[in-house]
Amino acid sequence: MDDRRATPRTALPAAGARTASVDIYAPQWRNFIFVAPFLFFFTTLLLVPLFWGMWLSFHKADTFSSGNFVGFGNYIRLFHDKVFLQSVWNTFYFVLLTVPTLALIGLFLALCLNRRTRTAAVLRTLFFSSSVLSVTIVTLIWRIVFIPNVGLLSTIYGWFGATAPAFISDPSLAMIGIAIATVWWCIGLPMMLFLSALQQIPQDIYEAAALDNANRWQTLRSITLPSIKRTFVLVVIVQIVLQFQLFGQAWLMTRGGPNNLTKPIVLYIYDTAFRRWDLGMGAAASEVLFVLILMAAMAQYLVTRNKAGQA
């Protein structure tokens, strides 16, 4: 039996006739048909635009024509553009505001709701429900909260005779306003990931801890947190990659203002390529974003590889 499993090279001969043996692992051109649809879309929708984008970034091009080769001209213009540098900083600032918050609140909610009660189930659904909304609805809701004079926040502050902070237009608060809306929108996924990790921790470890008279804090520090360390890293890296691509919330809540303080890189690319028709420079900015996200993805690869090595 073992032999047959190891050498599945010979098909059973048909009765009365001996056919040539068929190597089912041998490369055959007709197998290409199975991967062709995927390869077609992968090439046309991913590879071609990727290289076309790189090619464009070295040309002076607008939306309706591609012009001369300018070498690194677009990149030089890009790094001399204060607005671009501002947008890179904005993106990092936004990631810094949202990712730790998402990870910590997600963990906190998961710890609170990791129990088999009806209330916990309802609350889990409730906290996850915002994730199914589109960015347009999310920003609409938060605009209604933040909008001056008639917004929810203004009304509540008004009861106490105070003025609500201008989360949409104050230079120091606008990005925080977008971060609040984003955390509210995205909290479902981290919470669910942490919940699934918590439910995989074997109960007998907790029972052993209970026998050792460990209190709740000790249990959390010595059992729960170490057991979900890998999920924590996963949540952080997934969120970094996601939040780097901030666009909709900033565009719909503040249009990147006041004075570009909430303009992330993707909005800069949109602005440059499609509103100013400077496609070459927009493509150059896209390549910079590509490298930044690639670095985050590489970090994920390195971290998970090291973890695998330790295990």
Partner: protein
Amino acid sequence: MKMKKVLFAAVSAGVLMLASPSLAATELTVQRFFGACDADFGTNTDVAKAVGECGIITSLINKFNADNPDVHVSVSTVEWPGYDQLTAQFASGEAPDIVTIHESALSDYQSKGLLMPLDDLLKSVGVTPDSFTDAARNGATKDGKIYGLPIDSWTMLYHINMDLFKQAGLVNADGTPILPTSPEELLAQAEQFKQKTGKPYFVQNLANETALYTRNLYTYLFQQNSDFFADPKHVKLNTPEAKKVVEMYKAIFDKDYTTKDLDYGGAINAFLAGGGGVQLNGTWVVGDNNAQSETKGTALNKGGYAVYPYPQLFAGAHAQYADGHTWAVSQKDRTPEQTAAIGKFLKFFADHDFDWSRTGHLPAYKAIIASDAFKALPHRNTIAAVADLGRPLPSAVQRQFAIQDIVGEEMSAAITGQKDVDAALADMESRVNELLANI
């Protein structure tokens, strides 16, 4: 006999199928901004009943469809100004047949050969450019040809709450509002207004806004004879004239003579609720504001509503920034029926420009401006002067909407104190010139 019936039915069906293409209405796609109001006017064809930009344009297109059964216009409404979508549509070969384009944006698309010159088509339906006002004809003409059917000229105005002006003691004996004649007077009157009413003089939509700032700057640069776009490829904005304007608006901001954190919708609501004396907004809200002032119980009904061009604050030219809306036609292969249908649509809008002027916009046709019906519309006696005052940027200046964003962002930074005024003006100038140098 039965066979004969079946044969007759089959032949009849065949004839009908063959005939149906010629009976089918010619389809036209129209793309416009001006908002969506289908709940109120989605089926209305009585244009006289409609109010405001959205109501009137929706009703006009409904009426066109009703009056012309051989043409069917399907409308897609885009968020103002809609140029991001339009550019993408042109790039992918999916442009609508007819589209609203500002005169200031026409040259972007015309210079790329994306728009159809309309001279011959308009002539074929009896619309001649000499019937346009000078402002409309100049705005729609690029390289000697007409590239859009002008439907109006618009500008920014002082929309005034007369009740608050009376409380502030800023009313002449004849009941007209007292408006400033210099920057110093503006600040003094704004202070008096604030002291007497406890409210800000201006209601402005300053939250993440660019257009309002830019239009304010252009107007007061014109009034100082600053030829900042003498070269359409190179702007001069780091000038003493620009500094004067920015410092004036900064003083207004610093001394709380204006609302600060309102967006466009918020500012309209604040003004209608009596939140300040003067709202800086365009011709397009005259109709809506007037309707409010005639409704009992509203803040504008209390003491009345008045509307004026921007006051002359400097000693230079009597001018203010203006622009206009047009219907432009995309360049593509069409059947003679389709082209004729477009001609019909344009002619319909030329014929109904009076209805459109009820929005508050100035008509694009001399005959309508001179008509008694137009003069009889409310407030036209005070704002008709804009026909002579209105001045656009030179038509050779490209990417005017992108420039508007840059100028507005830097002005906002200077006025709200994020940046020093000189630094903002220097950045404004260098960013615009960088954009223009790379077109």
